[in-house]
């Protein structure tokens, strides 16, 4: 699999570390309760289709990126820097 790193260009997937679904958002820590965090940490959707995922370019620029990947075909539609995706 080839992943288009926004910094480094297209690179082999072996250079990256996979984390998982990019959808869950960390609750605002100061106020958020246990239930909100449990919901953030544990349940994950088992997506069949397009999915936004966090990958870390560990062997490259050390940037966390959001990759859009189809879990059925592994086709990759694109990638953005995580810090920009958040904005």
């Amino acid at each position: 699999m080839r992943i288009p790193c926004p910094y480094c260009g297209e690179r082999d997937a072996h250079e990256f570390v996979y984390r998982g679904d990019a959808a869950p958002q960390r609750p605002d820590g100061a106020e958020a309760n246990e239930a909100a965090f449990a919901d953030y940490v544990y349940p994950r959707a088992n997506v069949a289709g397009a999915m936004h995922e966090h990958w870390y370019h560990a062997q490259g620029c050390r940037t966390w990126i959001v990759v859009e990947r189809d879990t059925r075909s592994h086709a990759i539609a694109g990638a953005t820097l995580a810090r920009e995706a958040k904005r």
Binding site: M1, R2, E10, D12, A13, V17, R19, A22, R26, P27, G29, A30, A32, N33, E34, A36, F37, A38, Y40, V41, Y42, H54, Y56, A58, R62, T63, W64, S73, H74, A75, I76, L81, A82, R83, K86, R87
Partner: protein, 969 residues
């Protein structure tokens, strides 16, 4: 000899000597082992897997199920080599397999007489009872009787290389379609990579007689090869097998660099593994001819028609003197013409419906006779023939496309599985696309290359489409021959017969995947390339289902067997993974260190002094030296991360459970990191170098993971924070200097610094100078002694170790390793890797107070869950044996006294244990349910693994200097 006087692609001026089963023969350059054996009239080449039936060469390609030999000998022996793909070289040595005592007389052929037992699923049916006989009797028996070649068991003396290739267009297969495609794209300036398994280009044009542009096809191939070689953006890889298609149009291929030599030249790898990233791919892998399932179709002398054609036209051999043909397709008639042209007698052309020329016999072959073939039976009539060529139709070779998720569909027009929708970025051309004629192959190659160029935004080339001779491609289908006598084979290598398919169906194995696993159809080294579709068709017929509905099995990589050595490449023995050495490694080795692997690092475990015979003796001496004098320990492997920027303090507050923003410049603080689920992730120290700059340390094991975590927090969770982070683990060498004499030693090293307790107290940190270079000094103590850690740039690390040794010589400075480090920290009750095991909470480790209530941090919310702070959770305690001298072992389970050693009584376990010089006995740390309130209680430490059962007293985890007087001294 059966070598034809003229013709073929062999070089008669280059004779090559080789041996088969110890007997000497001669072939020519351009031969395969199979063609050379045929030229030498060797008909019997192997025994079948299960019945040990005599087998001859069936094919002329990688689909060969029968002619498996062990190539070479000794450490270079390579079992299960297909004689049909082995390029002949001078000195080649081959031996037949799966026979005893000899190929001609195989004792195990008795299995054939027992064949009623060896039907499909016989393992499950025959060897079920009694159960204990399986391991002792049945399995060894079966393994000896059934099997292929044996490995040498010796280390592989050759090397294997790895390379990467990137291209605009990858062309797989250099037959007419592939060559046309590569030429078209190459002329347009595209970066083209064309891979061909064979040592010669041309594909079917090597074996069949055609005309292109009015010339023999071989001339066209030669011209194209020359032009491809002249094009700067085209690379041709011969002897290269593309074995797998992977995501994002990447491919694996293995180039047989030196397999056609006796031994590789000096410095030459035997094989090279290619990882190919292609923007577009054209699959031009051709098609594989199917056998026909009639009685005795496995007899040596029965061959694929396409193979006979190759052996006659390409290799200039006569596989037999009288070659009969049993054909369902027009290729049978083309073969007959080729044989007659070569002066070989064709006693009969048999087709089921009699189509063909006037001499064709309408009928079917129902039986064969002879040890090697002597005659065939057609409608009860015997016809003398020493070779029978069977033309059973064609299966497009689409395995690579299937790897990428494309599902084959049945095409009733050509009676074969094809791909209607190739994977994205891939096109099929020629026979692989189910277009069997030469004209279609040329058209496809041209068209698909132009399409790929257009796709890539490259200008198309204008080139003439070569004119080709007419080549009508007939298709036919006949899955089994009624009235067959004797076994009719479907899968030759695994001895699966027509009857086995029927049996599987009767027993309920009615899907193609179940059929495969029950009968082992297509599970041999040839992966059923020749016969698998026949088996599936028989199943479809037996279940009265259309082929399209029944479908075929899913093809997965590798498409061909690949030597493990090729995958391993250079990553063997010492090169299996990288080795990381600290700057002080050589110094440690000179001082008698024994090293231990800590991840990729080598760390000094202890330093043996002359006269010491036991590791415990060395470790005890080192630990005692730290408590009474001074010791030095290389701690460079601990992770070091610099965090800088206006928001560095805020970031660290969120990473650690405790406050780091309140840390003054020039101070250091112990810190605990949790995972978001509330469990402990890692620990270390943070030292504040400036208002906006910290250096934090991590455990050796978690250095990379913490770096990743810090980046995750910066990039994903809080991108608004202006804080940068970088790993400096390898930039700084760091040494712990610990013991009552530590200050004296450090003062000698840093004479200009005021190291008094007032000026540089416990947990102080400073950036300073050592020998006119930068240094960092910390007053940290893992040992509980007065201690410092000094860091210098890694290139001065070795000098630092030597300087410390030199400066401390007069008061006996002692190097200590990880074992003594462990003893010292266990005596002080400091948790390390054994306690930070991913299953413990801050509460478990007695660090509940470190969870700040004044801020948010990773893991805050979930660490507060009732179950994570339950006092009944196993919690850190000290343990010491009740009877002096007894030894507690790490991993032992803690049980109440008097309770049986069963899981239901388990109350925790021992995490770390050591011999403590200050206690003068064995001590341990452990996690015990409700531990802190059980101080003084006695429990059992039971290790079923080591067979020990020790009564221990629960105590404080701090065995030495509980007030911490010494480290502040």
């Amino acid at each position: 000899m059966s070598r034809l006087a003229a013709g073929g692609s062999i070089d008669r001026r280059q004779p090559l000597a080789f041996t088969f089963d110890g007997k000497s023969y001669q072939g020519f350059a351009g031969d395969t082992l199979a063609s050379a054996l045929i030229a030498n009239d060797v008909r019997l080449v192997g025994r079948s897997f299960k019945y040990h039936r005599p087998r001859g060469i069936l094919t002329a390609g990688a689909e060969e199920p029968n002619a498996l030999v062990t190539l070479r000998s000794g450490a270079r022996a390579e079992p299960n080599s297909k004689a049909t793909t082995v390029e002949l070289y001078d000195g080649l040595e081959a031996a037949s397999q799966n026979r005893w005592p000899s190929l001609g007389f195989d004792m195990m052929a008795v299995n054939g007489l027992l064949s009623p037992i060896f039907v499909a699923g016989f393992y499950y049916k025959t060897f079920m009872w009694p159960r204990r006989f399986w391991e002792r009797l049945y399995e060894p028996l079966i393994r000896r009787a059934a099997g292929l070649g044996a490995l040498s068991g010796l280390p592989d003396p050759d090397s294997y290389d790895r390379d990467h290739a990137f291209c605009d267009l990858l062309v797989i297969g250099a037959g007419p379609a592939g060559l046309m495609a590569a030429l078209t794209a190459g002329r347009a300036g595209a970066r083209v990579l064309i891979v061909e398994e064979d040592f010669a280009l041309g594909g079917r044009l090597l074996a069949e007689r055609h005309e292109i542009d009015g010339q023999p096809a071989a001339d066209w191939v030669a011209a194209v090869a020359a032009e491809l070689a002249s094009l700067p953006t085209v690379r041709v890889l011969k002897r290269t097998t593309l074995f797998g298609g992977y995501d994002s149009c990447t491919f694996g291929a293995v180039e047989k660099v030196a397999d056609h030599l006796v031994t590789p030249a000096a410095g030459q790898p035997r094989q090279r593994l290619w990882k190919i990233a292609a923007k577009r791919t054209i699959l031009a892998t051709g098609a594989v001819e199917r056998p026909i399932s009639f009685g005795g179709n496995d007899r040596p002398g029965v061959m694929q028609a396409s193979a006979v054609e190759a052996y006659v036209n390409r290799f200039a051999t006569a596989p037999g003197k009288r070659i009969a043909i049993f054909a369902l397709t027009a290729s049978g008639l083309r073969l007959a013409r080729a044989l007659k042209a070569a002066g070989i007698e064709v006693p009969a052309i048999v087709t089921p419906d009699g189509t063909g020329d006037g001499s064709t016999i309408a009928g079917m072959v129902t039986a064969t006779h002879g040890k090697t073939l002597r005659s065939i039976e057609v409608s009860g009539r015997r016809i003398e023939a020493d070779i029978l060529a069977m033309a059973g139709g064609w299966n497009p070779a689409i395995g690579i496309a299937s790897h990428l998720g494309a599902r084959p569909v049945w095409d009733d027009a050509i009676h074969a599985f094809v791909l209607k929708t190739p994977p994205a970025g891939m096109a099929l051309a020629g026979a692989a696309a189910g277009h069997f004629s030469l004209g279609e192959a040329i058209d496809d190659g041209l068209r698909e290359a132009q399409a790929a160029l257009a796709d890539l935004g490259m200008p198309a080339t204008v080139g003439a489409r070569p004119a080709t001779s007419d080549d009508p491609a007939g298709v036919g289908t006949l899955w089994s021959v009624p009235g067959s006598k004797g076994k009719a084979f479907v899968d030759f290598q695994h001895d699966v017969t027509v009857d086995d398919i029927a049996l599987a169906e009767r027993e309920g194995f009615r899907s193609v995947e179940h059929l495969k696993r029950y009968t082992t159809l297509g599970m041999a080294t040839d992966q059923g390339k020749a016969g698998q579709v026949n088996g599936q068709a028989l199943l479809a017929a037996a279940t009265a289902t259309a082929m399209g509905e029944k479908g075929t099995v899913i093809a997965r990589p590798p498409d061909r067997p690949v030597a493990i050595g090729a995958f391993a490449g250079a990553h063997t023995a010492a090169h299996f993974r990288p080795v990381r050495l600290t700057a002080g490694h050589a110094w440690a080795a000179e001082n008698g260190a024994s090293f231990v692997d800590t991840g990729q690092w080598k760390r000094a475990q202890w330093f043996t002094r002359p006269g010491e015979s036991d590791w415990l003796e060395s470790v005890t001496r080192e630990a005692r030296a730290v408590r009474t004098g001074v010791g030095i320990c290389d701690v460079s492997t601990l992770g070091k991360i610099e965090v800088a920027g206006p928001d560095a303090a805020t970031l660290l507050d969120r990473l650690y459970t405790n406050m780091m923003s309140t840390l003054p410049v020039g101070k250091a603080r112990y810190g605990l990191m949790l995972r978001e689920d509330g469990f402990v992730f890692d620990d270390g120290t943070a030292a504040r170098l400036a208002d906006d700059r910290y250096v934090i340390s991590t455990t050796t094991a978690n250095a990379a993971r913490v770096m990743q975590h810090v980046d995750y927090c910066r990039h994903v969770l809080w991108p608004e924070l202006d804080a940068q982070a970088v790993s400096v683990t390898e930039q700084w060498a760091q040494v712990a200097v610990a013991g009552p004499n530590a200050r004296v030693l450090m003062q000698r090293l840093l004479p200009d610094m005021d190291l008094s307790n007032e000026a540089f107290p416990f947990m102080a940190s400073a950036q300073c100078r050592w020998r006119d270079g930068p240094a960092r000094l910390f007053r940290l103590s893992f040992s509980g002694e007065l201690a410092y850690e000094i860091a210098v740039p890694a290139d001065r690390g070795a000098a630092l170790m030597r300087a410390l040794t030199e400066a401390g010589r007069s008061f006996g400075v002692t190097p200590y390793g990880t074992e003594a480090l462990g003893v010292l920290r266990i005596e002080k009750g400091h948790p390390a890797g054994n306690e930070l095991n991913g299953q413990t909470t801050a509460h478990d480790l007695g660090m509940g107070r470190m969870l700040s209530a004044r801020k948010d941090f990773i893991g805050r919310a979930l660490a507060g869950r009732a179950a994570l702070t339950d006092p009944m959770r196993p919690t850190l305690v000290g343990l010491k044996p009740v009877r002096p001298g007894e030894r507690v072992r790490g991993g032992a389970h803690l049980l109440p006294l008097g309770a049986a050693a069963r899981a239901e009584h388990d109350q925790g376990y021992v995490t770390s244990a050591c011999f403590s010089p200050v206690v003068d006995g064995w001590i341990a740390l452990g996690l015990l349910a409700n531990g802190p309130s059980r101080i003084g209680e006695r429990v059992r430490a039971v290790s079923p693994v080591r067979g020990t059962d020790v009564e221990v007293e629960v105590c404080s985890p701090i065995f030495f200097d509980p007030e911490g007087v010494r480290l502040r001294g």
